[in-house]
């Protein structure tokens, strides 16, 4: 009974089959890359063939005609601004509710938790109206307000769960030494939350980068030059689909995400599944 552990058994056939199945799963993505290098007639004539020549016209077209570069920069800035606010506000609130005998702390925990259940369809119309009354409708600031508030319940939930694993002694020592609660949090607790913070950056960074629906609804048909909103606008403008340009756009907008995913797959999987343990 040495190495007969069943989990160590080699199963080459199963591994081969699953590898092929996995490749089949991502085959549509291969197709998008291959077809982004062809002309439209080529795509229609022989969609599965490799391109005969390296044709980068489609990429040139989407960068000049759709201004994808500018909207990608906007998306990146939006991601950074939203995530920064979510991390700062969310972690502080979670700390206050979980670790300090705060008046109303228990109520606030339930109050924030309820937000996990609210679907976008319920709030989209009143939210638009509210932004309109505040005079900030269809602005990036309004979208930022929405993204931050939309993400806070999950951030607080993830931080609260993780905070339970941190020993209290450090905070108590800091308090004895006269360190105030806000400083105690930033100097002592926050650095210990780093794994959580990484998960939140990945989860919301990807979510906001990939979102087109909420941004499109809240920013209206013409405003909001964000990456996927631009792509969506571009393809809903056309009656006959220019698949060649669409594929080029899809590849460009998915490339940064794919690159990061390949580099740090484990962190990605951890971050993206962190949101599910309710």
């Amino acid at each position: 009974m040495t190495s007969a552990h069943p989990r160590r058994k080699r199963l080459p056939i199963l591994e081969g089959v699953l590898l092929l199945a996995g490749l089949a799963v991502i085959s549509p993505c291969f197709l998008a890359v291959v077809n982004s290098l062809k002309t439209l007639p080529e795509i229609i004539r022989s969609p599965l063939a490799l391109p005969t020549s390296l044709n980068l016209d489609n990429y040139a077209y989407i960068f000049t005609g759709v201004d994808l570069a500018g909207s990608m920069l906007n998306s990146l800035l939006m991601c950074a601004a939203v995530i920064l606010a979510q991390i700062v506000f969310g972690s502080m609130a979670a700390y206050s509710m979980m670790r300090r005998r705060m008046w109303g702390g228990r109520f606030l925990r339930v109050f924030f938790l309820a937000g996990l259940a609210v679907p976008f369809q319920i709030i989209m119309i009143p939210l638009f109206k509210e932004f309109w009354l505040l005079g900030i409708h269809t602005t990036y600031f309004a979208l930022w307000l929405h993204y931050v508030s939309w993400g806070l319940p999950l951030c607080i939930f993830i931080y609260s769960g993780f905070m339970a694993t941190i020993p209290r002694e450090l905070e108590e020592a800091a308090a004895i030494d006269g360190c105030g609660p806000v400083a105690t949090f930033w100097r002592i607790v926050f650095p210990l939350l780093a794994p959580c913070t990484v998960s939140i950056i990945i989860f919301w960074g990807l979510w906001i980068w990939n979102d087109f629906m909420q941004a499109f609804i809240l920013m209206g048909a013409n405003k909001g030059h964000l990456a996927f909103v631009q792509l969506y606008r571009f393809l809903s403008d056309q009656y006959v689909k220019n698949w060649n340009a669409i594929f080029a756009g899809v590849v460009v907008l998915s490339a940064p995400v794919t690159l990061l995913y390949v580099i740090m797959q484990r962190r990605f999987v951890k971050g993206l599944t962190a949101g599910s343990f309710r």
Partner: protein
């Protein structure tokens, strides 16, 4: 106002507290919780409450006042054929999605758990579609399924099965499976990963004991893995339920409810009413009714599944 950790470690006796320079407890709470509470209350809770109120009004979204009409919207909803068609289609998709994400990903996870070589690569391939935007996955599927130039039909004609080529998105009998395929493709890796994470918590001793007792893979699954996974089965089925009921973005990108009203989901119907037809009051009523139904079903689901959970 605060001391560095480095400095606090140095002096031989504890420093005296300096109450004059620390903030009172309530203001510290306000600083820590304030921003989150204000944003969340202002842009999540308030719109949700307003949405509930609008569901009791007749309002086109642009007039400044919404006319209060009580439960009139809900009465109209009960007799609205297009709403019930949307409910039927949404439920059909939800049943498929819940079954697939609960059981197919369970099977895939059990198989992936046995893989030793190229583990990261194989798992990574299955998870990858989840990283992509809904817009990307919907576009890819729309391209694959296109009747004239789509890759699926071209492939079928190429291998001589041209007769099997179908209008995957235009045929009312096939389009529900097209939508299901799209949702299944994007989410499979995610749900499988949740199972895999749980499978890793199964202690090796259980597998060893099973092997000593001469149990085959099937018995290992039914007696060890399945009972240990029940908590995740609950999680996944509830998450799949939410995914199915809220099905919306994929419809906007691909079919927009066509052919006819065949693929109008509840979410898309709300969007049609509220954004395209300016019936905000009625749209709010549909979303409130759906939300309450979803909460009720999810509670029943959790209540039914939770007591069966096994832990060591």
């Amino acid at each position: 106002m605060a001391l560095d950790l480095v400095r606090t470690a140095a002096p031989p006796r504890p420093l005296p507290r300096r109450p004059g320079r620390t903030l009172p407890a309530w203001s510290a709470s306000a600083i820590l919780c304030g921003p989150a509470v204000i944003l969340y209350a202002g842009f999540m809770v308030l719109p949700a409450i307003l949405g509930a109120y609008y569901s009791l009004t007749q309002w086109n979204g642009w007039t400044s006042t919404a006319r209060f009409i009580g439960l009139e919207n809900f009465r109209e909803l009960a007799g609205d054929d297009r709403f019930w068609t949307a409910v039927r289609f949404t439920l059909f998709e939800t049943v498929l999605v819940v079954a697939f994400f609960t059981f197919a990903s369970l099977l895939l996870a059990v198989l992936l758990d046995k893989v030793r070589r190229l583990k990261g690569l194989i798992r990574g391939l299955f998870f990858y579609p989840f990283v992509l935007s809904i817009l990307v996955s919907a576009l890819l599927f729309q391209y694959l399924a296109n009747y004239r130039e789509g890759a699926v039909n071209v492939l079928l004609r190429w291998i001589g099965l041209g007769a099997w080529a179908q209008d995957w998105m235009g045929d009312p009998d096939l389009v529900p499976y097209f939508i299901f395929g799209l949702v299944a493709w994007s989410g499979l890796g995610f749900f499988t990963t949740l199972y895999l994470a749980n499978l890793q918590t199964v202690p090796a001793e259980l597998y060893e004991a099973a092997e000593i007792d001469g149990a085959g893979p099937l018995r290992v699954f039914t007696r060890i893995q399945f009972p240990m996974l029940l908590a995740t089965i609950t999680t996944n089925s509830v998450l799949a339920l939410i995914t199915g009921i809220n099905l919306f973005g994929q419809i906007v990108v691909t079919t927009q409810g066509a052919p006819g009203y065949r693929t109008v989901t509840i979410g898309y119907y709300i969007y049609q009413l509220g954004i395209l037809n300016n019936r905000q009051g009625y749209a709010s009523a549909v979303s409130v009714a759906t939300f309450l139904a979803l909460v009720a079903v999810a509670c029943v689901q959790v209540a039914l599944l939770r007591p069966r959970t096994v832990s060591l």
